[in-house]
Symmetry: C2
Subunit: 143 residues, 2 copies
Amino acid sequence: MLSKIKKQLHEANYKLTPQRESTVLVLLENEKDHLSAEEIYMLVKLKTPEIGLATVYRTLEMLTDLKILDKVSFNDGLARYDMRKEGAKHFHHHLLCLECGSIEEIEDDLLGEVEVIVEHDFHFKVKDHRLTFHGVCQKCQNK
Amino acid sequence: MLSKIKKQLHEANYKLTPQRESTVLVLLENEKDHLSAEEIYMLVKLKTPEIGLATVYRTLEMLTDLKILDKVSFNDGLARYDMRKEGAKHFHHHLLCLECGSIEEIEDDLLGEVEVIVEHDFHFKVKDHRLTFHGVCQKCQNK
DNA sequence: ATGCCTGCAAATGTTTTGCACGCCG
DNA sequence: CGGCGTGCAAAACATTTGCAGGCAT
């Protein structure tokens, strides 16, 4: 996992510095958590105290350019980052609970047929998608 | 259209001040355009020069609370606003062109079956959704 | 008078940028 | 030396908030 990313960086002529390695490790360890830049910064600082917030932002931008990361936004005014699943053809989907704010990821490919419709009816060449359902999660329904 | 919104404001105990009316008119006149707060402000200022940016933000927040508007984000770092279609059961979908940046709206209800699956398999009560396809629009494909 | 609504300016929070320094080939 | 990568501080944005005043009831 890490070694594959290392390879991708080298192929793009980036060095895997200690700061970048720590950042990637934090992202891998918290894959499900949709961390913000600030949250990532604080976690990285535990491993590698000599790091600045700007470096985290620069690393996140680089990883996004390399399509290792996806930048997502849930309308809470700040960017969050989400690891691309290896081998996944498409970006996964999210279930955002309007009551407790939790975000659940779902991997199923739900949009195969829908993409065919979009490509055919709207002559739009689909490369990727973002799908988030807003609703109430199971926990909150039981309350 | 405007009169219906006026009624909604009154029912929620808000006054339709000249600033608010201008803002709503700008939104109605540019329904397809996914304007940002700043863009809306500049357009409103042409009609009603005595208006401040803060008032536009406050009006947009109010309209969002009343579910007349939807706040959307296309990962470009600022919020955009989109009128809810009257009578539409669900939020419409977007086609974002990665080459020219244009955003096309599509109204078709593409997610009916998908929502059934989500509710059943993930025990998640769906209230709304956000779906954006990233790809290449017809114009850019022809280039 | 009371309370909603406003413009302006200041504050806030996030992200980007400028710059000088350090490190490695 | 030359250039990438860095930390820090400042700048740049987007958005929110505090406040004094205005207007309608």
